[in-house]
Subunit: 259 residues, 4 copies
């Protein structure tokens, strides 16, 4: 009834998950399955999806006939590296077009380099890729990435791997209000309520990895995240009650909120 | 596997709902059903559960054989009124012991009068009631209500009907850490993520009314709340990742958080 | 032009300070002087103000002819202890009437025991004391303490010694809006902006100790706090601009704020 | 003892103010004087500083021998416009080098266009200007602007004219930690405590306009801001106490904070 459509394909789940940082492939597979995710992102430079035939292969637990693979450019700090990595993924996956572009600016913060990201996005779109793109939470940059032709814009909630939740909901909201393509929060979610908040802001989905992989019980956290995404989406669609200082207030709160 | 036990009875659902402010009884019934709630609270002084045989009866949509009714003392501002209301409920419901006590201090804020609440709780406990008790978020008062023998302590997240979410998570956490009886957030939840946050803090459940009844689509919001409560509970049990400023940080964040 | 009036006496400074936790009396004296405070609180049970003639005497650095001493009942957990401590202070200080009442509920949280506080306040007011009273941030309790005849109500911002700042600005605001006596935030301020926020909410003053005493440079922090209190007071009186999402917004923000 | 040094010149005040949105020039002059600001920014495209000899001239109330004028490019949406505006300012002000660059991306949000800003900054630095530069709160962009040779980096706290305060303190803190040039918060401050928070994060200064000009009493708010900036700076230098959940806590808070 309420599909997420990316690059013309409809998905039931609005939770996208990564595959890094798990104890072993068995846990990876179990957590991904429990999450209900249909799109699974893979760091091409760090993950064996067949490049090394003698090693454990991620695709054994994430079979490409069941999941939409989303190769990503994690670890790329230049336009060239990112573009080359996407092309490698396309080869390895038999013409696969859907990729997640990230060009990092700094190994400490893992913030995107937005100027390099814009440049790489242009090249990849021209080259026929369907580009989902990791970016900061600047609404101007988000709009430009959409204008370039990216199929989804993916602002960070907080630094990758931080678990700090949505640091600037206003910026995410502004991006959502201005977008004509899906907006998915990517990076920074730490627990279930963070994911729900993203959806309540009107985001079309959330991509996460560490929040599940580094929970004490990743499989149970995957279930929590699945439900939180659905809860947040339904709350967004249901239309929340107004905030008021008191039930007796005749009108909703104006300008009194604290942070 | 993870029941909520109140007064010796085990419940699967950790979401408790009210029945006020709905457009009509049909919506009330549909929303309550969708919420999955097993305990449904009823404002005895404002709701016809048979006192007036010629009027629509709430029990037609909330059949007592399917739900645990939780008569409450909404609208009571004195010890006497609250105690009398509980006794009336016991009569109307054929010896029913479980009640939610609230003694209000002020018609604007709807904050509890905690000294009257302590007094009424003592009387009701002595009188054989199983008392779930609405209170402020002061950990000292919460502990005293537990010591009196209340079967559950129900601190407010924010003023009744405000939808402001959990204004002081530290206080709720402190109450949870010190409690030996179930702690349920009562009042102030506005949307799904608020409910998830309550559960992630370790609360045993959440009671809400306005957030569902005053959503644009109450039945869909009831579904959102059901999932949010489960998501928050599972996230709590799964054990969230630590917060860090950056993924590269060698140790979790200490003392740097902002609000 | 804008005095703080407590028990009929006008003060220029709205910053009240404590005297505990300093390295030595010299630093205590220097920090108190730099703060500009005119009212200085003293924990009668822990401080030598002449009880022990052979030991260093606080009054050597806080001369009672320059400062209004505010004996407090820190460390008292019962009505009797608190009342007795106030009477002792009155004796030691030659009939002094102004006291700060605190009756603690718990040695971990140092939250007040509000029921004991109410009882002690009644006794002390009847006994002729001018009672400034430490309490939680419950507006109902605050009003009742005012009704008993306390000359100032002093809700906590956060636990004593925590430095967490104002955890629930709504409650403080509600107390301020309802009060006819001065409201001073007592406990929980950690840095200068916390003090400014308290004043911007309309509080009449702030009492603090740890935030100054445990700063790396207590004397410089005392200066910061003096300016922050004045800044917050002036900002309150000046009337801040409305919050808006954007400068272009035609009307102030309503119900969109995040926390 | 603690000067702010920009482009080799030392200033005592860390508060920079704008001159727009005041009722009349008399109030502008009075508020600027009360603020203690030594650097005053002027929107060259909107302000008469002599271009129109028959109209009131801002320099009558902001005499250039008393203040350092900071011409800014408010209202410029392209590299060309911004560069041309700076050159016009240099002419009008007899070879003046210090400018504030802003290239806007969008008339609604007034967010910067960071790619155009980077380009304009390169041109202006090469052209001999001392460039203070308005930017978003992305640490990667801030560093690049510093590397280009800007003499100060000025991230937004929140949208221009919003009064929302510092929406993402983590980002501001990261910019401060990485910077070798002064970092000044520019835009978004709404009241005194916001300014204090900026300084407590380690910022070197704050530039504001609307918060003073649109206060009910601009001159009093200017005084509040002066004190808030000093308070925040002193609190930063003094070294605040650690945050703890309770005074009794043996170690500072780690990872427990809420937002």
């Amino acid at each position: 009834g309420d599909p997420l459509v990316i690059a013309g394909k409809a998905y039931t789940s609005r939770l996208l998950v990564g595959t890094g940082k798990y104890k072993d492939l068995a846990v990876t597979g179990a957590a991904v399955e429990m999450s209900g995710a249909e799109i699974v992102t893979v760091a091409i430079r760090r993950t064996n999806i067949g490049q090394d035939p003698g090693q454990p292969n991620l695709l054994d637990v994430i079979p490409p006939d069941r999941y939409t693979l989303l190769p990503n450019t994690a670890g790329c700090y230049t336009v060239d590296d990112a573009v080359r990595t996407c092309r490698l993924a396309r080869e390895l996956l038999g013409g696969h077009r859907l990729v997640k572009l990230e060009v990092l600016g700094d190994p400490t913060t893992l913030f995107p380099d937005v100027t390099a990201t814009l440049e790489a996005a242009e090249i990849l779109v021209r080259d026929g890729f369907d580009v989902m793109v990791y970016t900061n939470d600047d609404p101007i940059i988000a709009k430009r990435l959409e204008d370039i032709g990216c199929v989804a814009v993916m602002p960070l909630a907080a630094p990758i791997g931080s678990g700090l939740g949505i640091r600037n909901p206003y910026n995410i909201l502004t991006i959502v209000e201005n977008a004509k393509v899906p907006v998915l929060v990517d990076a920074g979610v730490g627990t279930a309520s963070d994911a729900a908040v993203a959806m309540e802001l009107g985001c079309d989905g959330v991509l996460m990895n560490t929040a599940i992989a580094e929970a004490k019980n990743p499989v149970l956290m995957a279930s929590a995240m699945k439900k939180a995404i659905e809860a947040g989406r339904e709350a967004f669609l249901a239309g929340r009650m107004p905030r008021r200082r008191f039930a007796s207030a005749s009108s909703p709160l104006a300008g009194l909120f604290f942070d």
